[in-house]
Every structure is written in structure tokens, then in C-alpha cells.
Subunit: 137 residues, 2 copies
């Protein structure tokens, strides 16, 4: 029953994408605290919450912690969510106090700007650049 | 031994990213054959080969086939590769003969434009728009 509901929901969302209204909000974040950028728990949690706030639906997540100068504690992380509406990706480089964020969603019901704003609020960069790309057909 | 080599290689590439030279090539592809856009095998193979040609290194792949009007044969696909250098993402909408491609890599040794060009050559869209975003720190 749960599977049936899940498929029905996916089809509903996918139909909403038939028009292919593609909204891609992305940005570069400077001067982020290294304790955030080295923490898989914080970055993954930020991705999950941003998806929820932006009305996007996660299907699967890939994540990776990188070493830096033989110390995994100081390394960055990558978290990428495959969402029904497209994808969310966050990559971090603690040694440069730097992170990038991509939130790309199709459908009129999702709000990638809201999701992006949440990550800015959570990461608190000293400065950032935000861009928008139209990915509509 | 294999693990040691793998870690050493990752660190080497990761060090190359310390400067965070981020190159993001992305685009929208119009008028693509539906036999390509519905084929997980073709799309995944295109992602894998594009990474190789662009000197990028795949760590993990997520993929999903979507239904369309109760027919998975007619549905689109999403393939996202987490690469050591950042990510590659292809999403397709066969009902609109449409696909989007994102190739985002850090490091001076990767060539996302070459990887993007390969996907264009493989998908043969009637037309496409190609963009570049600087993701450097």
C-alpha cells in the first residue's frame, strides 16, 4: 500500500514537471565556519531540511567525506540528493572556508529559493553570490 | 594496497582543488530522440564516458527511472554521479524531447567542456543552450 501511494505521488509530481518548469538556484558561499564545512551531519541535515522547506522530495542521497592532508577531520564533504524534482548538491572546502550550493527543481510547486535561503541561514557565510538559471524546456 | 592507492589518489586530486578552481558547464538540450531520453543504459553510459573524457573520477552513481502516464517505457530518467571533483547530473523529459546536463568539476586538470561536448554528440539535440558558471572560491 505504501508502495502504491509512493508511485502515485511520484507520478503526480512527474506530471507537474511535464511542462518542464526548471528552476536552478545556485551559489558560492565564502567565509563559512570550518566546523560546519567539515561536518557531514550538519551538511546532510541542511540538505534534507532545505528540500522539505522547498517542497522537494528526496529519493536518495549520496555523500562523501574527503581527507585533507591525511586528516579526515579537516576534510570537506559532498552531499548530493536525487530528488523527484531534479537534484540538490552541496560541496565544501574547509581549507578555503568555502562551499557551493546547487538547488535545481522542476515543477511549479517547489521553491528552490526558499531552500537556498535556508542553507545560507544555516551556514552563515560572511558573503555569498546567488544565481538563477532557467532550466525550462 | 588498493585502498592506500585509492586514498593517495583522492588526496592528490583533493589537493588540486585546494585553490578551488570550480568550473560548472551546464545546458538545456531540445529536440532529443525519445529513444535516448527513455534509456537508462544510454544516459548512464553517456555520464560515465563523459566523466572519463573530462578526466573526472566517479565515486558513486544514483539513478532513477520515472513513470509517465503509467508507462515506465515512456518515462524519463535521472542519473547523477558524485565525482571526486564535484558532480555530473543528467535529467530527461521524453514527453518534451528535453534534457538538462550539469557538469561541475573542481581542479585544473578536469575538462567539463569536453565532457559536455561528448554528451551533445551522443544525444544529438536539434538545438541546445550551453552556459558556464565560475564556482571558484
Amino acid at each position: 500500500m505504501k508502495m502504491v501511494k509512493s508511485i502515485a505521488k511520484q507520478q503526480q509530481i512527474y506530471r507537474a514537471c511535464k511542462r518542464v518548469v526548471g528552476k536552478h538556484v545556485y551559489g558560492n558561499l565564502y567565509g563559512v565556519d570550518k566546523r560546519i564545512l567539515t561536518s557531514m551531519q550538519i551538511v546532510e541535515s541542511a540538505v534534507v531540511t532545505s528540500a522539505m522547506l522547498g517542497n522537494m522530495h528526496i529519493l536518495e542521497i549520496m555523500k562523501r567525506k574527503f581527507d585533507f592532508e591525511n586528516s579526515p577531520d579537516n576534510g570537506g564533504v559532498s552531499v548530493i540528493a536525487l530528488i523527484e524534482e531534479s537534484h540538490i548538491a552541496v560541496h565544501t572546502w574547509p581549507e578555503s572556508s568555502y562551499a557551493t550550493v546547487d538547488i535545481y527543481s522542476c515543477g511549479v510547486h517547489s521553491d528552490p529559493k526558499k531552500a537556498f535561503a535556508y542553507i545560507i541561514d544555516r551556514f552563515k557565510p560572511k558573503s555569498y553570490k546567488q544565481y538563477f538559471a532557467d532550466r525550462s524546456s
